[in-house]
């Protein structure tokens, strides 16, 4: 870690102020990148839609499974912006309502994976020895097996449902976090401030909690934001294969899977849910990429 000379200029200065200054500079760098800002915009928009969208949809009864067989397969129009599907449901309503499931699942997956990965990776990195070997070999093995097939098998085992889907995907997700955290812990463990604290007689718990966790957190947050897009993608993929949520919950992947049978005449039933997945994944990837650029010293050039 290099320290810029001017940091000594306004010494003494509170740690909080220093942290604020660092964030302020990061923000400038972030807002300097047009793509990152667009990504942030998309994500904020999607989160707002996920939280409030359902209250403003034109056909709220369709969210909970209401149907209108006489209005089947209407093309996009002023009354049905995205057209209607094979049950006469308004596709716009379903896509808006589906944002909640997708974002919620995406976040839950990444969060659960981060928690499990951090605990296991932290233990491995901090204690070393055979615990490290055991956990890391398990991680390596998991990384050789395609995550999607693993997630599919687990999801099929647990049966459809939002919670089951989250469990299935996060179980195939944690090894990445475990590796990352272990690496970070290993490097931080040997740094001067930790060695000093240990010499002063700090307990393991205190060392981990006070000195190592805050320093690893940045890397975890970056990975979480980078992974969010892919988590949404994986959840949609499970829905697409047909082992996702329970009907009538609107979910983008399963909407797409059903609509597949109605192409090409009724293309709107497929195209709009697909675009929604793309938008969400794209937005979070832009954001994650931008965050990594400003927060991760290693990625900075």
């Amino acid at each position: 870690m290099s320290v810029a000379p001017h940091d000594f200029g306004d010494f003494p200065r509170s740690a909080a102020a220093a942290r604020f200054e660092a964030w302020r500079r990061a923000f400038y760098r972030f807002s300097g990148s047009r793509l990152s800002v667009i990504g942030l915009g998309i994500c904020v928009f999607l989160v707002l839609v996920a939280i409030f969208g359902e209250s403003f949809v034109p056909y709220p009864q369709h969210v909970t499974g209401g149907i209108a067989p006489r209005a089947r397969f209407l093309p996009p129009s002023a009354t049905h912006w995205f057209g209607t599907n094979e049950l006469g449901q308004d596709v716009f309503t379903l896509v808006v309502a589906g944002s909640r499931v997708s974002l919620l699942c995406g976040f839950a997956v990444v969060f659960a994976a981060a928690v499990v990965g951090t605990v296991l990776g932290g233990i491995a990195g901090y204690y070393g020895g055979w615990t490290d070997d055991l956990i890391m070999r398990l991680t390596d093995l998991k990384l050789t097996i395609p995550g999607l097939i693993l997630a599919m098998a687990i999801a099929a085992a647990l049966g459809p449902g939002i919670v089951n889907m989250i469990i299935a995907v996060s179980l195939s997700w944690w090894p990445g976090f475990a590796r990352l955290v272990r690496g970070e812990v290993l490097s931080k463990k040997e740094e001067l401030f930790v060695l000093a604290a240990r010499a002063l007689g700090a307990s393991h718990a205190r060392l981990i909690w006070r000195h190592i966790v805050p320093n690893v957190l940045g890397a975890i947050v970056i990975k979480m934001s980078l992974d969010m897009g892919f988590a949404i993608l994986t959840v949609a993929a499970l829905g697409f294969i047909g082992i996702g949520v329970k009907p009538p919950t609107p979910e983008w992947g399963s909407l797409l899977a059903i609509a597949r049978g109605y192409m090409p005449e009724f293309w709107w039933t497929a195209v709009f849910p697909g675009l929604a997945i793309f938008l969400a994944v794209f937005g979070f990837n832009l954001l994650g990429d931008g965050l990594r650029d400003v927060l991760d010293p290693k990625a900075r050039r």
């Binding site: 209401g66 047909g242 009907p247 059903i258 049978g261 192409m263």
Partner: protein, 521 residues
């Protein structure tokens, strides 16, 4: 230099990029007449006494022979291995004269002993289509009268007996005995064939295709010009549609109503949209849970949105009562529940949950689009009674496992019931007789009165009396409301116009008999 087939293809390849794909692929069949059928169903087992489902039925019908076949609309028994037969006046003994030309594909003549051998095996295994005959024949039923004459003595009267015989195939005893193993030849017959039919399996690629080729010296009289046929597995109906449109296949077996609409008026495609004895209804758990309450069942029967179901079904008609419309004995004037919310609420108020507020479960087969749609119709209808529906898509075997007891059975269980024979007994017995409790056809419903009427119906020889019995049966079942009587979907097939001699028959029409068919050109 002789012009080989390959060099012709290479020559054609130069211009291949400019030709539409369809013409290219059709050209490659060359002089051989190979009929290609696109279907979503695999053929997992070739054993004629074990396999069920329409895809194995297709293969078995063409590779094996049965005593009688079924043909026409309405379907009638016609000669198969038996060139003629007679029935004793009491309707209990059937005597079959075997065709003297009939021989298995290995050259062995088909004799009475072979027929007995197969029926004995059907009775031993109790699998596949055996359920159709096992309740009416016993160990002493089969009698070899002479080399070419066999008689079957029923243990109970059963007027539709000739209608179930097309699904009881005769295997070559010599081959089966040689490969008997410890499981009565099941492992061997699941992959090998021992038939007398006009076709044999040339190529089997599970999950992809099955190719049949014509037996050079087939004994069957007549026959079209086909040299073979391919059962191509195409899981998406949209792709089946594209292939029939492009002429890559000659027949598409599982099209949706939307596909049929899209194919209308396309050159080279004939559409077959015909009523068939195939019912779809939603069975209710009459023995356990909230639906054991007859008032609740009636409330739901009146709350259900039949019109929505019909609209979503496409080419279909609503069922009138438990039996398929148009079958012998069906009563078109039967009073059945139709959507009437006031009546539904009236019944609900008499039930144990007068204000709804309960949650019921329904399973349906994962990936079956029509069942998914109808589950949502039910969900939407139940909301009006303030009842929640938990929809669980499952694979079929798991669903079947649930039907073993009333306790494991879900509240609603959707069932397609295909008539294997054109007689009311088929559906009445399978779907409402308590002998079938614990099976998917009739998981829990039992009524002594219904059982008795069904048994009288299958034993009665006088047509007028028989019709009266079925009329009463239908009234009793509707009164009990064990099912939401749904729709009869029309059979939807698309055929290329170059198929000749195709005749629709409303039983197992997607398991097409190849022998009479020809391809033009």
């Amino acid at each position: 230099m002789s012009v080989t087939r390959r060099s012709v293809i290479i020559g054609a390849g130069a211009t291949a990029g400019l030709l539409p794909l369809s013409q290219m692929t059709m050209a490659q069949t060359g002089g051989r007449k190979i009929l290609i059928i696109a279907s979503g169903q695999d053929i997992p087992n070739f054993d004629p006494h074990v396999a069920t489902g329409y895809s194995p039925a297709w293969l078995l019908r063409n590779v094996y022979d049965s005593l009688v076949r079924t043909e026409g609309n309405p379907p009638k028994p016609v000669p198969g291995l038996a060139s003629s037969w007679s029935v004793s006046p009491d309707g209990m003994t059937y005597t079959f004269k075997l065709d003297p030309k009939a021989k298995f594909q290995d050259g062995t003549p088909v004799d009475a002993a072979a027929v007995k051998h197969s029926f004995d095996r059907i009775m031993r295994l109790k699998k596949g289509n055996g359920w159709m005959v096992n309740s009416v024949i016993g160990p002493d039923s089969m009698k070899v009268i002479d080399d070419k004459t066999v008689s079957i003595k029923l243990t109970k009267p059963f007027v539709a007996f000739l209608h179930v015989l097309p699904w009881q195939w005769v295997v070559n005893p010599k081959q089966v005995e040689a490969n008997k193993g410890s499981d009565d030849g099941q492992a061997w017959l699941s992959k090998n064939l021992a038939g007398s039919g006009p076709f044999r399996v040339k190529r089997a690629e599970p999950g992809n295709l099955y190719e049949l080729e014509r037996v050079a010296d087939a004994w069957q009289p007549g026959g079209g010009n086909l040299s073979g046929a391919i059962w191509q597995i195409v899981r998406e109906t949209i792709k089946q549609r594209q292939m029939i449109q492009a002429g890559q296949v000659h027949m598409a077996a599982d099209l949706t109503s939307e596909d049929m609409d899209a194919l209308k008026g396309r050159p080279g495609v004939n559409l077959v949209i015909e009523p068939e004895f195939r019912t779809f209804s939603i069975k209710m758990n009459t023995e356990n849970g909230p639906l054991a309450d007859i008032n609740m069942r009636r409330a739901i029967s009146y709350a259900f949105d039949y019109q929505a179901m019909l609209e979503l079904a496409g080419y279909a008609q609503l069922m009138v009562g438990p039996l398929p419309n148009g079958i012998f004995g069906h009563d078109p004037s039967l009073a059945v529940p139709r959507t009437d919310l006031a009546k539904a609420k009236e019944f609900l108020s008499k039930s144990k949950s007068p204000n709804g507020g309960i949650k019921l479960t329904m399973t349906h087969v994962t990936g079956l689009e029509q069942q998914r749609r109808w589950s949502l119709v039910l969900l939407d209808s139940l909301k009006k009674l303030n009842i929640d529906l938990d929809i669980k898509p499952m694979v079929w075997p798991d669903m079947v496992a649930l039907t073993k007891t009333p306790q494991t059975a879900p509240d609603f269980f959707p069932v397609y019931q295909t008539a294997n024979y054109g007689d009311p007994d088929n559906i009445a017995f399978a779907a409402y007789h308590s002998a079938n409790n614990g099976n998917w056809q009739n998981m829990v419903y039992k009524s002594a009165r219904v059982d008795q009427l069904i048994e009288r119906g299958r034993a009665e020889l006088d047509e007028a009396k028989r019709a009266a019995i079925y009329k009463e049966l239908q009234q009793v079942i509707v009164e009990d409301a064990p099912d939401i009587f749904g729709v009869l979907e029309k059979r939807k097939l698309a055929l290329r116009t170059d198929i000749e001699n195709y005749r629709f028959t409303p039983v197992a029409s997607n398991a097409v008999e190849l022998w009479p068919l020809s391809l033009k050109g």
